[in-house]
């Protein structure tokens, strides 16, 4: 699903990540943790080619990202669902249009009928907000909408970067529950967070592995979590 081999990324002469080796199997659920500023977001951005590694290899969905054309990157991103902490939307479009956008840009609008779309919206609990515009929604509603948008194309891999960072515990649990459900459907999930309570809550429900960024490198965390 996702392999990083001796991967490094530096910016302005400063190493952000160094010699990262990682092999993520399909259908697994990983947490990525570590203090703020240690490179969690950078690692996720490398995974969906918002950044290119300055050293080493990144293979995603069996494609080596080196030498990929922009068009290839766009194709790969259609198979990855990304959720950010500051979930970005196109503010002048309704939530329905925003959530359908991945289908629209890939020319697959007709592949999801209205009933399936309604089911998806009901799953994230936003049925009453489909004609609203992004600025009209609360943080929790926006996060759930971002999750719906991330999975509308039924991606193989879901990358969530601090999706619960701005949410209260109840809402954070809802988001976690949705991600766990997706994982149970066979989706690979990587969730970056520094919320240990969230990690423990997940561990009580499914088998997860925790990756920790230490000294610019990624390590598998032990039982201390």
């Amino acid at each position: 699903m996702l392999q990083l081999k001796d991967t490094g990324f530096s910016y302005g002469g400063r190493d952000i990540l160094k010699d990262v080796n990682l092999d993520i199997a399909p259908g697994s659920f990983y947490f990525l943790t570590g203090p703020s500023g240690t490179g969690k977001t950078t690692l996720l951005r490398l995974c969906y080619q918002a950044l290119m590694p300055t050293r080493g290899i990144v293979r995603i969905l069996d494609r080596d990202v080196r030498g990929l054309e922009r068009e290839d990157i766009a194709q790969i991103r259609r198979r990855i669902g990304v959720v950010h902490q500051d979930c970005k939307f196109v503010d002048h479009l309704t939530m329905a249009d925003n959530i359908r956008m991945p289908l629209q840009v890939s020319g697959r609008s007709g592949e999801l009928d209205d009933n399936s779309f309604d089911d998806l919206i009901a799953w994230v609990g936003l049925s009453a907000h489909m004609n609203a515009y992004p600025p009209e929604l609360s943080s929790g509603e926006r996060q759930r909408a971002a999750l719906a948008r991330a999975v509308v194309m039924s991606p193989d891999l879901i990358l969530a970067d601090e999706p619960t960072g701005n949410l209260d515990w109840i809402m954070a649990q809802k988001i976690l529950t949705l991600l766990i459900e997706l994982n149970k459907m066979g989706k690979t999930v990587i969730l970056a967070t520094h919320d240990l309570q969230l990690i423990r809550a997940a561990k009580s429900q499914i088998t997860t592995r925790v990756l920790r960024i230490v000294d610019k490198n990624v390590q598998l965390a032990g039982a201390d979590l």
């Binding site: 969906y48 922009r70 068009e71 766009a74 991103r77 259609r78 196109v90 479009l93 840009v105």
Partner: protein, 304 residues
């Protein structure tokens, strides 16, 4: 070949359109009005430049074609010798090869030539006006130096004027004007491209968040660029169509130039030339398409 096919596909997609894709770019009333206004103003100027270019082209052609095959013999002689000089000139012209025909201008014709300067009641018979002989050359034309030499020998009062002296600067001027008209059209197209490029870059910069979201969900650069290109191309097309229509009406309503003076004769369009301004909106749309597409892809290259 692949580039051409890609461009053709882009044009087809542009014409077919996709309302949902277009809506991704937020409406920008102020930029839209400015782009359309610029396109309209440039189209208006382009149509006038085209009219000037065509008119001066016609003028240059007419002076070149019609006047280059005519020559005038001017005879100045005292009252008693005029007829003898005329006979001598007639004899020389009769026996010169390269001359298709000639005729001595009547008093009435000469009066009409002088009328713009001296008025209609000119007493021609009381003035020492030279007699004029209009000579039409055949396609080979006469040996001008030989003819001039014979005339000076047999009719000393006769002077051969082949119009070269005054025709050449006029033809040169007309041709320069035609060239300037063409250069103006090229400059107008370039300015339009520059202004639309700036407007497109401004729109792209203002929509950084939209582009970032589109990239995140897997939109290709072609998809993103098309949303901007289609919008700017349509604005340029509509604006240029309005500007062209106004310019064509303005040219149609110009006073009849023939009645005012020979130099303005034909300023505007004649016959099928009226169809040429219709190309201006199409050209404006093509310029806008090219300028926005280039600007969009360059800008997208810079945005990670």
């Amino acid at each position: 070949m692949n580039k051409l096919r890609e461009l053709m596909n882009s044009l087809i997609n542009l014409l077919v359109g996709d309302i949902k894709a277009d809506n991704v770019v937020p409406p920008s009333g102020y930029t839209a009005i400015l782009t359309s206004f610029t396109a309209a103003a440039m189209a208006f100027l382009a149509v006038f430049a085209m009219a000037l270019s065509l008119a001066t082209g016609r003028l240059a052609d007419r002076w070149s074609d019609e006047l280059s095959r005519t020559t005038t013999v001017r005879i100045s002689a005292p009252e008693g010798q005029m007829q003898a000089q005329l006979d001598a000139v007639r004899n020389v012209l009769d026996t010169t090869t390269g001359i298709a025909s000639f005729r001595i201008m009547t008093d009435e014709e000469q009066r009409k030539l002088l009328e713009p300067w001296f008025g209609p009641d000119l007493p021609l018979e009381n003035l020492p006006i030279p007699r004029l002989v209009e000579v039409v050359e055949d396609p080979n034309g006469p040996d001008m130096d030989g003819l001039r030499f014979r005339l000076s020998a047999e009719a000393p009062g006769a002077i051969l004027d082949d119009h070269t002296r005054w025709r050449r600067p006029l033809v040169d001027a007309a041709q320069r004007l035609r060239l300037l008209g063409t250069i103006s059209i090229i400059l107008i197209a370039g300015s339009t491209a520059a202004m639309i490029t700036l407007a497109a870059l401004s729109a792209l910069a203002a929509n950084g968040q939209v582009i970032s979201v589109l990239r995140l969900v897997g939109a290709s650069d072609t998809y993103i660029a098309r949303a901007f290109v289609r919008r700017f191309t349509l604005r340029a097309l509509i604006g240029a169509a309005i500007g062209t229509a106004i310019a064509m009406v303005a040219i149609f309503l110009l006073p009849s130039a023939a009645a005012e003076g020979a130099f303005l004769t034909g300023l505007g369009f004649t016959g099928w030339h009226w169809l040429l301004p219709l190309l201006v909106p199409i050209l404006a749309a093509l310029v806008a398409f090219w300028a926005t597409r280039t600007a969009a892809f360059r800008a997208l290259d810079r945005i990670s």
